[in-house]
Symmetry: C2
Subunit: 353 residues, 2 copies
């Protein structure tokens, strides 16, 4: 890594494209002065926006690209139309070629993951990638993975997820030994899917320095923040994430309905509106921004498509932290430690899929 | 079925036992005069409570049992200690012997399902049972199944769930052709688990009178109420349910914190407290009470363990409706119609597991 963290931005991604990406870069540069940017996209749109920020202009290389991946493109369409030529691909390729340390896009998740897999490939020893999300909890935040990169998982993949999530948690939460739980339908060892039980048996015995295995957790432990890292395969993780988002929206609707109901409650709302604004911020999905793609041979961050420039700046800072604190190196070290602890013949030797 | 709906109650189940079950029966009798009760449990506790309600006393047979299943008993423990002798088992056995039309318990879910499977067995043509939950939505309510009876499902089981859920929805919502969605990680036909895709292909082509297949739905469609019936296997369903409950609790906590924050917001709370009470009722899990066990050769209703007597009375009324409107007959008819539509050789012939 160079002295500066070199950040490749997909300038065209997200609902708002350059109008959010460029101001976000300016915000991030103020907060993290040791960065430089390559921004990929339509130069005619990007140039005037970058020129408007003198400090940003001095640290930014604009690289023109002809193709923008649409938010509605299916992964297969995106690959057909945008492989090599799109702003999304070119940002990833900058990481691949060693010209950038991290790629960040607010473009569509399926396309970004499909391109990441082809362009960057997975790390040695990791078979399949994952998406980790920051999950707001009663205690603060937890990391939940996989929220949808890979459908289905055997025990070995769940163990990989536990390791990758811990590596990320060490950086995000600045703790030495994050607690890790496996999402299941009960906390007793006899319950649940076979692969979850098998992963639990290995993790219980696995002694590696930077992972504190807590045991099984249930759906309501997500909101409680029972552990720092919650591990599940991508189907269940995606449904849990969207269910929680849906419930939050539903309750926000209930609150609006309830508060508009009578003159008294409208007066109440008037006095309580600062509290409601605070509540709205907590429920705002743009606040917990910056999904991290794990398991790839490169650092890739997915910003929420609807994020504003402060939200996207948050995703840039997540990417910065992952590079500065060596996410990939931490994962590599922890995988090696886990493999050493699991020499063939030990009771926690690799489990059959 | 006799003229009266004959209801077998586990008098000892739930957090409160007879103190909730007996008053609940009295409430239900007022609302549904054409019922009679058998209440199983400790006669010394039940007798004085029943005697306090003259109308209830005239319609109730108390059957003494020595054993009560604890809320903390594992299913295996419950079967060891309470098979044949517990109030829970005896209520189920009354249905088995044709002496009651429905069994209702607020006892622990795992034990009740384990005993139901052994005592009542599954219906012909249905391999595995399911638990259906009422899910509060922005539109009203939906039915979600399976929320945890059976872990893992092949395509055929998902189709059974769609049929059983529709039969229940016809009764609960009093509609002729409920809409049904399969829970998945995207709405496109190419996404998701193989078994979900296979079930979707069959349901799309299956023309049966009382099931309107909508397609795939996602986690946030649960709260939206996009369809009347949402189908998923028990692992994902259980995690979705608990995630939503956890999110609701988390937001309730945020609201308490936000409203206690300043003098102004406390004044706001004072004026808005009627609205907040309405909100609390909507978020109260005891309101949406009466999980229905489907696929068994008998009607079994699970009340929430913490329900009060009005909540438990709601579960009794759900059971009453399922009997009066012939849940089991509706399921049998729909299974037969589906099998007819799926003659071997048709494009929607039974799919390999």
């Amino acid at each position: 890594m160079a002295t500066q963290v070199r950040i490749a931005l997909d300038g065209m991604g997200g609902d708002h494209g350059p109008r959010v990406v460029v101001p976000a870069a300016a915000v991030a540069l103020q907060r993290r002065p040791d960065v430089s940017f390559q921004i990929f996209g339509d130069e005619a749109q990007l140039r005037p926006l970058v020129d408007a920020h003198a400090a940003l202009k001095a640290r930014t290389l604009i690289v023109h690209s002809e193709v923008s991946i649409k938010m509605t493109d299916k992964p297969s369409q995106a690959l057909r139309s945008g492989r090599r030529t799109s702003s999304m691909w070119m940002a990833l390729d900058a990481v691949k070629k060693g010209e950038a340390d991290v790629a960040i896009s607010a473009g569509n998740t399926g396309a970004l993951m499909a391109m990441s897999k082809i362009c960057l490939r997975t790390m040695p020893q990791i078979d399949r990638p994952a998406i980790a999300a920051m999950w707001p909890t009663m205690r603060g935040e937890s990391i939940v993975l996989d929220v949808g990169a890979t459908i289905g998982a055997d025990a070995e993949h769940l163990i990989d997820l536990a390791i990758m999530g811990s590596a990320m948690a060490r950086i995000v939460f600045d703790i030495d030994r994050p607690t890790v739980g496996l999402l299941n339908v009960g906390v007793e060892e006899i319950k649940g899917l076979e692969e979850v039980k098998a992963a639990g048996r290995v993790l219980r015995e696995l002694v590696i320095p930077h992972l504190d295995y807590h045991g099984f957790v249930e759906g309501d432990d997500l909101g409680k923040g029972t552990v720092d890292v919650i591990v599940t395969e991508g189907f269940t993780g995606n449904i849990a994430l969207k269910t929680a988002e849906g419930t939050a929206k539903q309750i926000a609707q209930y609150i609006r309905d309830a508060m508009g109901h009578s003159v008294m409650s409208r007066i109440g709302y008037f006095f309580a509106r600062a509290a409601f604004q605070a509540l709205r911020q907590k429920l705002d999905p743009a606040r917990a921004n910056g999904g991290v793609f794990l398991g790839l041979d490169g650092v890739v961050i997915k910003s929420h498509g609807g994020a504003d420039s402060f939200g996207f700046a948050g995703a840039i800072e997540v990417g910065y932290d992952m590079v500065r604190h060596e996410l990939l190196g931490k994962i590599r070290d922890m995988v090696a430690q886990a493999n050493e602890a699991r020499e063939p013949g030990s009771s926690i030797a690799p489990v059959e899929a």
